[in-house]
Subunit: 342 residues, 2 copies
Amino acid sequence: MAEMVSNKQVILKDYVSGFPKETDMYITTTSIELKVPKDSNGVLVKNLYLSCDPYMRPRMRNVEGSYIDSFKPGMHISGHGVARVLDSENPEFKKGDLVWGMTGWEEYSLITDSKLFKIHHTDVPLSYYTGILGMPGMTAYAGFYEVCSPKKGDYVFVSAASGAVGQLVGQFAKLFGCYVVGSAGSKDKVYLLKNKFGFDEAFNYKDEPDLNAALKRYFPEGIDIYFENVGGKMLDAVLLNMRIRGRIAICGMISQYNLDIPEGVQNLMNLVAKRVRMEGFFVRDYYHLYPKYLEMIIPHIKDGKIVYVEDIAEGLESAPAALVGLFSGRNVGKQVVAVATE
Amino acid sequence: MAEMVSNKQVILKDYVSGFPKETDMYITTTSIELKVPKDSNGVLVKNLYLSCDPYMRPRMRNVEGSYIDSFKPGMHISGHGVARVLDSENPEFKKGDLVWGMTGWEEYSLITDSKLFKIHHTDVPLSYYTGILGMPGMTAYAGFYEVCSPKKGDYVFVSAASGAVGQLVGQFAKLFGCYVVGSAGSKDKVYLLKNKFGFDEAFNYKDEPDLNAALKRYFPEGIDIYFENVGGKMLDAVLLNMRIRGRIAICGMISQYNLDIPEGVQNLMNLVAKRVRMEGFFVRDYYHLYPKYLEMIIPHIKDGKIVYVEDIAEGLESAPAALVGLFSGRNVGKQVVAVATE
C-alpha cells in the first residue's frame, strides 16, 4: 500500500462574475495516495511552481463552447506548473523527472489527460518553465515570429508589456531590429520596460486620458505591428494608428475578462482603410516549435541578451491573492506561486 | 476654338451626417469646352454610366487621413463610371475609346489625375463596367480568391449578398465548390439569391430578431469564410459562429457609414478562441490582376455560368436618389445611373 499524504488544494467556490476576489477561492486539505493507478497512463507529481495566467479568468465563468473548459465549482482549479514526477505509469516519464504543463492547484497532482513537457535544462531557474521557458514564452515566440510577420525596422507596439508574454515580445522585437514601445499600468513597470527590457519607449496607460494622442506621440508614423494583450479601449485607439498592411496579433484581451458584456470596438473600418490583418492565435497550435524555441532562447538567457522578471508569491495559501492580483495589475512581471522547494 | 457645351452636374451641398438625403445634393448646369488643355495629359470624356457605390458615403463626410479624399461641398461629386473619350492628350487613349474608371458625376468630364481602363470587350452590356467588369467585380474576385483563401467545401457566408459585390462572391464561391449562404434586406433579394445566383440558402436579416440564431440555423457547423460587407451587429453575430482557422475578409461595413459613432463590436475574443484571421482589403491593391480576371469572367458571362443583376436609374437627375437608395437598400442588384446613350 502506497503512502497517503495530505494535499492542500485551491478550490473555486462558485462561478465568478466581475473582478475575481480572493474569497472566490478557498484552501482545503484532502489526502492523496502517492501512486498512479495501474491502468491509468498517469503521472503523479509534486507541484513546485504554479503559473498565474490571464486565460484562467474565463475559466471561472460558466461558458460552453469556449476553447478551454470552465473550472468546476467545488473542485480545485488547474493551470500551468512545474513539477517533480513521484510515480509514473506513462512510459514517457519516470520518477525523478522534472516536467512542466497543465497541473492542479494543489500540492500533489495525478495527471492523466494533459500534455507534459520534460525539463532538460536545469541550469536556469526552474520557475522559468512557468514563463519564459513555458507557455508564455512559446506564446511570445509564436505570436511575434509566426503571426506578426515582422520586418526589420517595423514600428511595434505591445500592451501589457511588462507581463509574462509582453516583456518577451518587446525583447524579441528589439533583437529583430524593430522600434518597440510598450504600455503598462504603473511607473515601476514603465521603468522596467525602458531600463531592463530595452523598449525604445514606454508609457503608463493610466496616465493617458487620450490613448489615441499617446499613440500618436510615440508612433508619429503609425504602427506596423500591434501585439494585443488587453483589448477594449486600447485596441480602439490602436486601430486609429495602424499603418498600411499592418498586423495585429491577438494574444488575449485581459481588460475584457472581468466584464459581463465586453466593451464594443468601434474603429474596425480602419482595417479596410489600412488593409490590416488582425489574427487571433493560440499557443497550442505552435508547440511543435518548442525545441527550436529552446535552442534560440537558452543561449540568450545565459548570455543575458534576454532577461525575465518574475513576481513570486510564496506558498499555496498565497495563490488566490496572486491570481486575483493579475487582473488589477498588482504583479510586476510574470506572476508565479512557489508551492514547494522539494 | 473648341465647342462649348452645357454640362449638368451633381453637386454636394454640404457635408452629410446621418443618412444622406436626395436634398444633400442638387443638379446644376455649367458649361465645358470639349477639348483637353494642351499640357494636361488629360482625357475629355462623355459619361455614359455612373456607378453608385457604398464607399461614396464616407466621402460625404469631412474626414482627414481616410483612404480616399472627401468630396468638396459646392463641387460635383465623383465616382466610377463608363465613358466615351471625346478628346485626349494622354497617349494611352484616343478619341472614340471606351473607358472605365473614376469620373465626375456630370455629363462631360475632364479627367487628369485618375487611372482609366480601356474597354476592349464591347459584346457585353457597357454598364457591366460599373459592376461585374469594373471595380465591384475586381473587389469580389480579389476579396474571395486572394483574401478569403478558399478551400473546396468551405462554409461561406456573404452579407449584402445581392449587392454589386456580394452576388459575385456567392457565385464565385459556388463555382469553387463551397456551401454558400447570403443575407439581404428583402424577400425579393432573398429570392434572387436562391433562384438566380444559386446560393444554397439565403435569409432576410430584417426578419431575424436574433442573427446569431439565424446563422446557427444555416451554419450548424460554423462558418469558414465570412465576406463582410455590412459590419455592426451582423459581424458580432458572425464572430460567435466562426470555425477554427476561419477567415473574415472585410470589404466594407455599409451599416456603419451613416452613423456618427460606429456601433461597437463585442465578440472579438472569438478571433482568439477560433484563431480567426480578419483582414481588410482594398481593390486598388489588386488591379494588376484585372487582365487575369477578365480572362476568367468574360467566358463565364457569355456561357451564362455567372449572371449579374443591375438596377439602372435613367438620367443624371435620378442620380442623387439612386445613390441615397443604396443606404436604405432600395436597389435590387448593382445600382447604376444611365447618363447618356450616345
